[in-house]
C-alpha cells in the first residue's frame, strides 16, 4: 500500500523531467545548445540572475539580521509583508511591478522592457525566499554567544561579521541557492513587466515559452538546460547544509514552483 503510493508519486514526479531527455536524442539536445536563441537566453539569464543575487544577498542579509535580532511592535506584520511575495501568484507580481514602476505607474520610471526590469522581477519573487531563510538562520544562532561577544566589548558590526554571519552561513547559503533557482525559473512577472526580446529580456523560461509551438526540440533543449541548472542548485544546497537540522530534505521544498 505505502510502497505502491510511493511508486506512483515517484513515477509522476520523475516522468516529466525524464520525458524532456527521452523525447530528443542526447546529441541532438547538446547540438541545439549552440543555437543563438539558447545562447542569448542563457547569457541574459546568468547576467540578470547574478545581478539580482548580489542585490538580494547585499540588502537581504543585513535586513534579515535586523529582523532576526530585534523585537519591536509590528515585527510579525513586517515579517508577513516580507513573506507575502513568496505566495503571491507571479502574474500578480508582474502587474504590481507595472503599476509601481511602469511609465504610467506610481513612480513613473522607464524600467519596463529593460534588463533592470528582469532583475527587479527576480528580486521581488526570489528575494523573500532568501530573506525568510536568512531570518530563520540568524534566529537559530545561539544568543548567548552574541551576548558574550557584546559583553566582551565587540561593536554590533563586529558581532555581525565575526559571530552571527559565520554561524548562520550554512542556512544563508541554502537560502541563497534556493533564491537563485527560483530567480532562474522566474517567468510570469518577467514576461509581464520586462516583455520578451531575444538577447535583452528573454531569459531561459521565456525562451521555452516563445519556442514551444515553433520549434519543440529547441524548447526541449532549453528545458534540459534549466533542469541541469536547477539540479545543480539543489545539489549545492544538499552539499552546503548536510550537517544542519535539515538532514534529509532541503529547506523550503514547499516554496512555490519556479515555473508558475
Amino acid at each position: 500500500m505505502f510502497a505502491a503510493a510511493a511508486c506512483v508519486v515517484l513515477a509522476f514526479l520523475v516522468l516529466p523531467v525524464a520525458a524532456i531527455f527521452l523525447r530528443v536524442a542526447p546529441d541532438d539536445l547538446v547540438g541545439r545548445l549552440g543555437d543563438p536563441v539558447v545562447r542569448d537566453a542563457l547569457l541574459v539569464t546568468l547576467k540578470t540572475s547574478a545581478v539580482a543575487q548580489v542585490l538580494i544577498l547585499g540588502l537581504g542579509t543585513p535586513a534579515a539580521y535586523l529582523l532576526a535580532s530585534r523585537r519591536f511592535r509590528g515585527r510579525s506584520i513586517v515579517l508577513t509583508l516580507v513573506e507575502l511575495p513568496i505566495v503571491l501568484p507571479p502574474a500578480v507580481a508582474g502587474i504590481g511591478l507595472l503599476a509601481a514602476f511602469g511609465r504610467t505607474g506610481l513612480l513613473h520610471t522607464s524600467v519596463p522592457f529593460t534588463q533592470t526590469a528582469v532583475v527587479l522581477a527576480i528580486c521581488l519573487v526570489a528575494g523573500p525566499l532568501y530573506a525568510r531563510q536568512a531570518v530563520a538562520a540568524f534566529e537559530s544562532v545561539d544568543a548567548t554567544l552574541v551576548e558574550a561577544a557584546r559583553t566582551l566589548g565587540a561593536r554590533p558590526g563586529r558581532v555581525f561579521l565575526r559571530i552571527a554571519l559565520p554561524l548562520a552561513a550554512s542556512g544563508l547559503g541554502a537560502g541563497a541557492a534556493l533564491a537563485f533557482a527560483r530567480g532562474v525559473g522566474e517567468f510570469g512577472a518577467t514576461i509581464m513587466f520586462a516583455g520578451s526580446l531575444q538577447g535583452l529580456t528573454q531569459t531561459l523560461p521565456l525562451a521555452v515559452y516563445a519556442q514551444f509551438d515553433r520549434d519543440f526540440s529547441l524548447a526541449l533543449a532549453l528545458g534540459g538546460l534549466l533542469v541541469a541548472v536547477s539540479g545543480a542548485v539543489l545539489l549545492a544546497v544538499k552539499l552546503l547544509a548536510p550537517w544542519t537540522r535539515f538532514a534529509s530534505t532541503s529547506p523550503f521544498l514547499s516554496a512555490p514552483s519556479a515555473s508558475s
Binding site: L98, G102, R103, T104, P112, F113, T114, A194, G195, S196, L197, Q198, L200, T201, Y209, A210, F212, D213, R214
Partner: protein, 238 residues
C-alpha cells in the same frame, strides 16, 4: 429571496439557450477575433490566442471544434495533415500603428518608427501579426525600426495592451484591435502599397465530436448577418 431567484435564473438561462441550439462548441480563434466572435455567437466557449499557438494545441490533441486563424498559413498546414476540414476565408484585415494617446515619443507617422530610442512592441516571428509586421517594415524600407523593438509578444492583444497602458511608444496591430481601445490610443495609417493581404480562415476540426454543429457555426459566420457584424467591427470581407 427574490434576488437569489433572479440570480439562479440568470445562471440557468444561458445554459437553457445553449442547449436549445445544440451542443456548446469549443472555438479556437485568433486573439484579434476576441471582440467580434462572441458578439456574433455568445453561446460558444472561446479560446483566444495566437493562431500559431492554437494550431500547436490542435496538433497536440486539444479538443476544439472550430479553428479560426488570422492567416491562411496554419489552417492550410493543418488541412494538409488532415487535422481540419477545408478552410474557408471569412474576413480580411489591415494593419495599423497605434501609439498611446499622450504620444510620449511624438510619433506622427510610420516613418518615425526608425528614430532612436523609440519603444516599439511587435508580434514574435511565427505569430501572424509578427510576420505581417515584418512584411510591412520590409516593404516600406523600414527594417531598421526592428532595432527599436523592446518586446516580441505572442498575440496581438498583448501588443495592444502594452501600448494602451502607455508602456510602449508604438505597436503594430490590426485595425480591429485599435477599436476597443480607441480612447487610449491614436491610430496611424500604413500606406496601402505596404499592406500585406491579411486573410482570416476558419475550419472544422477533424477530431471534433460535434462536426454538424461546427459546420453550422462556420456557415453562420459566412451569413449576411455575420458579415455585417464583422464589417461593423472593422474587418474587411472577402
Amino acid at each position: 429571496m427574490r434576488r437569489v431567484a433572479a440570480l439562479a435564473l440568470a445562471l440557468v438561462l444561458p445554459v437553457a439557450v445553449a442547449q436549445a441550439s445544440g451542443p456548446r462548441l469549443t472555438v479556437f480563434a485568433a486573439a484579434s477575433l476576441a471582440e467580434a466572435l462572441p458578439r456574433i455567437d455568445a453561446a460558444e466557449r472561446y479560446s483566444f490566442s495566437g493562431s500559431d499557438q492554437l494550431a500547436f494545441q490542435i496538433r497536440q490533441g486539444a479538443t476544439a471544434d472550430v479553428y479560426a486563424a488570422a492567416s491562411p498559413k496554419y489552417p492550410q498546414e493543418l488541412y494538409k495533415d488532415g487535422l481540419v476540414a477545408k478552410p474557408v476565408t471569412f474576413a480580411t484585415n489591415r494593419l495599423v500603428v497605434i501609439v498611446p494617446r499622450a504620444n510620449p515619443a511624438r510619433i506622427r507617422s510610420v516613418y518615425d518608427l526608425r528614430r532612436d530610442g523609440i519603444k516599439l512592441v511587435i508580434g514574435a516571428k511565427g505569430v501572424p501579426i509578427g510576420d505581417y509586421t515584418r512584411t510591412v517594415l520590409d516593404r516600406l524600407g523600414l527594417s531598421d525600426a526592428l532595432g527599436n523593438v523592446v518586446s516580441e509578444e505572442t498575440d496581438v492583444k498583448l501588443i495592444a495592451g502594452k501600448v494602451a497602458l502607455g508602456e510602449a511608444d508604438a505597436g503594430f496591430v490590426y485595425r480591429t484591435d485599435a477599436r476597443p481601445i480607441v480612447g487610449k490610443v491614436i491610430q496611424l495609417a500604413i500606406p496601402s502599397k505596404a499592406q500585406p493581404p491579411v486573410e482570416y480562415q476558419i475550419a472544422v476540426v477533424a477530431a471534433s465530436h460535434h462536426k454538424t454543429a461546427a459546420g453550422a457555426f462556420v456557415r453562420r459566420l459566412l451569413s449576411p448577418r455575420s458579415r455585417a457584424m464583422l464589417r461593423a467591427a472593422g474587418f474587411g470581407l472577402p
